[in-house]
């Protein structure tokens, strides 16, 4: 099976770090000057970053990070990442003016049907950034964000969402902000059914629960998935997930899949 974007150009470049600013606990907003990648970028796509020094063989593999904001005019993309291991910690140490070996843009991205005028976004933790790019790129549509995090400190970019004038409904595990509990419970309680499409990104259990809710409501969803990757271009078959069409590559057949096509109980 061939991804529709199989023929689209990919760019490997030494992107210049314009900024790498902490915006939350262990969380950074990285602005990269990468004109070719930016010109081709669509919301829901990601880039593959080499976190180590050039020619250092450890860590060997690139890290996939979603595109969070696209500034076509200035040839810049923003990425928002959380330090969870060696590679992301190395990224956290990078300084403005340094260069990063990056390739992209990778993946299908969110392809919105015309009739999806009102879209509910559901984000869990560090799954929020690609949904920001989606909302930013579609001023013609109406969005509401359901945003779940562990606690108030981990909620990031609320000012950015306010600038887009998009309502944000918050759920935290400890109740330190908004609804106390899971974001999917808040969604079930408040979302109703007056919407056309649900776009989501977050931990697998959240997506699994949400897929169940959408199925019951008879609604369509576009969910962005994660997988361990090696090549990040569709060549190695290392990143597959189970779907109704068999194994599909998260990197190029996704990362965005229709919720109803994913086999969730794996």
């Amino acid at each position: 099976m061939r991804a529709q974007q199989d023929h689209e150009r990919l760019y490997q470049t030494m992107a210049i770090i314009v900024a790498n600013i902490p915006i939350g606990p262990g969380t950074y907003r990285l602005t990269l000057l990468a004109p070719e990648i930016t010109a081709a970028a669509r919301p829901g796509q990601f880039v593959e970053i080499l976190p180590g020094a050039k020619a250092a063989m450890d860590p060997l593999l690139r890290r996939p990070i979603s595109i969070c904001a696209i500034d076509k005019e200035n040839g810049r993309i923003d990425l928002v990442y959380r330090e969870v291991g060696r590679g992301t910690r190395m990224l956290g140490e990078k300084q403005t003016g340094e260069k990063l070996d990056v390739f992209g843009p990778v993946g299908n991205g969110f392809v919105l049907p015309d009739e999806a005028r009102k879209i509910l976004l559901v984000a869990g933790g560090i799954g929020m950034p690609p949904l920001y790019a989606l909302a930013q790129s579609h001023p013609e549509r109406e969005f509401v964000l359901y945003y779940g995090a562990r606690n108030q400190q981990e909620l990031i970019m609320l000012e950015d969402w306010a600038l887009l004038k998009i309502p944000v409904k918050i759920a935290t595990d400890d109740g330190s902000s908004g609804f106390k509990g899971r974001v999917t419970d808040l969604f079930l309680k408040e979302a109703g059914t007056a919407y056309h499409l649900c776009c989501a990104c977050g931990p697998r259990p959240m997506l699994t629960a949400l897929a169940g809710i959408l199925q019951q409501q008879g609604k369509k969803g576009l969910f962005s998935l994660e997988a361990r990757m090696a090549c990040g271009v569709g060549a190695c078959l290392g990143c597959v997930c189970s779907t109704k069409h068999g194994y599909q590559r998260v990197c190029v057949d996704g990362p965005v899949f229709p919720a109803e096509e994913v086999i969730w109980d794996e």
Binding site: D6, H7, E8, R9, L10, Y11, Q12, L50, A55, M57, D58, P59, L60, L61, R62, D101, F103, A227, R228, M229, A230, C231, G232, V233, G234, A235, C236, L237, G238, C239, V240, C241, S242, G246, Y247, V252, E266
Partner: protein
């Protein structure tokens, strides 16, 4: 672009550079051509094919390890017939020789796949006898000289194409296996395939790969690959396609000096999709600086004394 100093003949296949994309890491060429023309490569070996379609192992299938990675793809592929119908037209028009990598569950299957590839535009057949991932097959052929000889014979009988047997490093005496392949008329050897390994998640206390075991590749395996190529170079006459952890020109040159006639890069491509250009330029510079007439003069050049066998350490 074409530099005669970099041209090599490998097992009857003419390569414009001694750089080959390793099986399973380059799809059927299409994915990496999205970065631009594949001018720096001499040939591509396609991902492993089986007689019938195979869905491969469940995920997770890959994980990073120190200076390397483990994979347990398990030979996911559309089967040789769908490959010929759906993939071969594009694969054959990339402008460089393309090889098929084949695996079977029985000796007969190897022969059958080889026969189907005849006349398809494939430049040669790399016979995978060492994939450690598929429980039913692979491992048996690659570790037993008799079984490996039988597979080589079966493929040899069914094809006039160059036959390159890809050796597994998961053996005690790689030379015996190399000689078994040579004895049955293999035109060349590919070495090495991945080393069997595993990794455990200490938080879930379970193996990371769903398949438990996977094949280790990348810089971590380079010294093992070099040692095996060195040993085999001394024991056989057929040419060697050397691979295992190559990530720069210096690595590639080491493999040539150890006895490889051409080199393949796999995992290094994941690190740097532009790796072939860097390696080609580096080899070219080395040849000029050291005053060699062509890359072929490097092959086996580290064996000057002709002796030096024995135990290390």
């Amino acid at each position: 672009m074409n530099n005669p100093k970099l041209q090599v003949d490998f097992a009857g296949i003419s390569l414009r550079t001694p750089l080959v994309a390793a099986s399973g890491t380059f799809g059927f060429g299409r994915e990496y051509s999205r970065f631009g023309p594949l001018d720096d490569w001499g040939a591509i070996v396609g991902k492993g094919l089986t007689l019938r379609p195979s869905q491969g192992n469940p995920p997770p299938r890959v994980t990073e390890t120190p200076a390397g990675m483990l994979n347990s793809i398990g030979l996911q592929n559309p089967g040789v017939e769908a490959f010929l119908r759906d993939e071969m037209p594009d694969f054959a028009s990339l402008g460089l020789p393309v090889l098929a990598n084949i695996s079977g569950h029985t000796v007969e299957e190897y022969g059958e796949i080889a026969a189907k590839l005849e006349g398809s535009g494939i430049a040669g057949i790399e016979v995978n006898v060492s994939c450690p991932n598929v429980k039913a097959g692979g491992i048996v052929f690659g570790t037993d000289p008799k079984a490996l000889a039988a597979v080589t014979r079966a493929v040899r009988r069914r094809t006039g194409l160059p036959v390159i047997v890809k050796l597994s490093p998961n053996v005690t005496d790689v030379v015996a296996l190399a000689q078994a392949a040579e004895g049955e008329g293999a035109d060349g050897l590919s070495m090495i395939n991945t080393l069997l390994g595993m990794a455990i998640d200490i938080h879930t206390r379970r193996p990371i790969l769903a398949n438990t075991f996977g094949g280790l590749s990348g810089p971590a395996i380079k010294p093992v690959a070099l040692r095996m190529i060195w040993q085999v170079y001394r024991a056989v006459k057929i040419p060697i396609l050397g691979m295992g952890g190559i990530t720069c020109a210096a690595d590639a040159i080491e493999f040539l000096l150890a006895g490889a006639s051409a080199v393949a890069v796999g995992t290094g491509i994941f690190h740097n999709p532009g790796i072939a250009k860097e390696i080609r330029e580096g080899i070219q510079q080395y040849i000029v600086e050291k005053g060699f007439a062509s890359v072929t003069q490097l092959v086996g050049a580290a064996h000057q004394d002709g002796e030096g066998k024995g135990c290390g350490g």
